[in-house]
Symmetry: C2
Subunit: 311 residues, 2 copies
């Protein structure tokens, strides 16, 4: 059955932007990803939280088509991140990172999750990402996120993980670091040779560039008048991207016709659409209030934003 298994962090964030401050609000890569993806297909979440984690927050995610059986509880405090943004919302300063129970996280995939059709490996140790893949039964598509920390400290393990991945989602700086190539086209070719047939480069306010078997695709970020808090935009993008793609593949059936270039292009725009809502408020607030009609309308605006006639 079509569903997405996501493994990542569920956390509390304290965020300060030029527009306000939010204390200990719900965050973490798996939270943003799951909520975005849940607009399209059921989501199976695997993460760990501490004894401080409020049942209210579990319930809030569970109410949105997200199965929470995989949420592990451990003695200690939940992952906590504190960050601050200046007016240049592309640059953020990390004030504090307390890994807490996340430090000894070992993902255990519940039996009923093991046949998930799609897997999203959030930004965790590549060793753990491989352990997740060892526990699941031939998913239709695997996507992976990572960061400079793992590229620097766990490159060999990361490369092993990448051989088992269909889609890699990283930012442009990470792509340069991973490939050792400054030019982004050369970087993409080098990275795709490591395994992923599709590379999705996230460039924040400058949008997304995708490299795949059928060439490249570029989508802008939606030009918003008010970017309130960029926290979680990348994970929300990934959720919209993979959620939409999974829903298309579900309709296409087992013939795998869903994994085509056209579906991937629309998935990038759908990811960008979800991300454009995420940044309009703190935490998951805007995503929790979002409707499918609003999503479809902004997708339509994205098309208008980028469309031009042939000459």
């Amino acid at each position: 059955m079509t569903s997405i298994l996501v493994v990542g962090s569920v956390a509390y964030d304290t965020v300060e932007t030029p527009f306000g401050r939010a204390e200990r609000v719900l965050g973490g890569s798996a939270s943003f990803f799951s909520l975005a993806a849940s607009f399209f297909v059921p989501v199976n979440l695997v993460a760990v939280v501490g004894t401080d984690f409020a049942q209210e927050h579990v319930d809030r995610l569970a109410a949105h088509n997200i199965d929470m059986e995989g949420l592990q509880r451990a003695d200690g405090l939940s992952f906590f991140w504190e960050g601050r943004y200046s007016f240049d919302l592309n640059a953020r300063e990390t004030v504090r990172t307390d890994l807490n129970v996340f430090q000894s996280f070992r993902p255990r995939i519940p039996e009923k999750y093991r046949h998930s059709s799609h897997v999203f490996l959030g930004n965790i140790d590549p060793v753990l990402q491989q352990e997740v893949l060892d526990q699941v039964e031939r998913p239709r598509l695997v996507a992976l996120d990572t960061m400079n920390f793992w590229i620097e400290g766990r490159l060999d393990e990361l490369k092993k993980a990448l051989r088992r991945v269909d889609v890699l989602l990283i930012n442009d700086a990470e792509a340069r670091q991973l490939s050792g190539e400054w030019n982004i086209v050369k970087a993409a070719r080098a990275i795709r040779a490591l395994g992923p047939r599709t590379l999705v480069l996230k460039k924040g306010e400058h949008g997304v560039l995708m490299f795949g078997e059928d060439g490249s695709f570029s989508a802008p970020a939606y030009p918003l008048e008010q970017v309130f808090d960029p926290t979680g935009a990348g994970d929300t993008f990934a959720g919209g991207f993979l959620g939409y793609l999974a829903s298309v593949q579900a309709q296409a059936g087992a013939a795998d016709r869903g994994y085509d270039d056209e579906a991937l292009r629309r998935a990038v725009v759908m990811g960008s659409t979800l991300a454009s809502f995420c940044v309009e408020a703190f935490s998951l607030d805007r995503l929790l209030a979002l409707t499918r009609a609003e999503i479809d309308e902004r997708f339509r605006l994205f098309k208008r934003l980028t469309q031009f006639e042939s000459i």
Copy 2:
């Protein structure tokens, strides 16, 4: 008759990139602009050079549908610029700028240029930009380029010039500086209130964002495997943009239907197309060897790069 009057610099550049070095090659905003625009309509050039300027370079531009009667000769040396690029080709270091005869440039518009249908005011003192407009007869469309130097030092004169302008082409940092707004959507609204009905924001490798009467339009830069030398890309963009727009308006006739949102969108992509060729070699070398068939083919690739289906 449809033609574009361009007023700007014709210069010699010495450029060093990670891929090589070029000594005293033909450069300047008016050179790049003219050559790009000349693929679409005749160009009337006004600039100043010194006694060191080679006749060969005059002839080279003249051979490309560019009227050189407006090229003034002055005692002294031509404008000289020396710059260096690191691997991050978005950032450049100016090693030396010798304004030379450009310092006392006063644009004189030849009689036969005064009925040019389109005017491009290159990046010069806004006082001179106004003097150019005083010498021409009601052009159909006026576009203007400027920079931080004039925004800081000649803001009042720049605002006077902007009241007489249809299209302003600047980069995103300049838009923030001119408007005092960090958010780019707010910046665009503030700038359009100063006069220009269309604002074209150049973002280098991140493409172009246009704000007009019918909403906004986003186009990426073409992802190239080899960016050899970015010098002149912005002026080449402007030349392709305005040249294409002028050619559309010529076809549309006096009813002014050419200045519509669809034509502006294609003009942005055409500007991006020309700019993508410019950066493939030093100086004007690639543009001098370019064919209309190559232009049309890359325009088609731009469409493929950005196209996606509705959901």
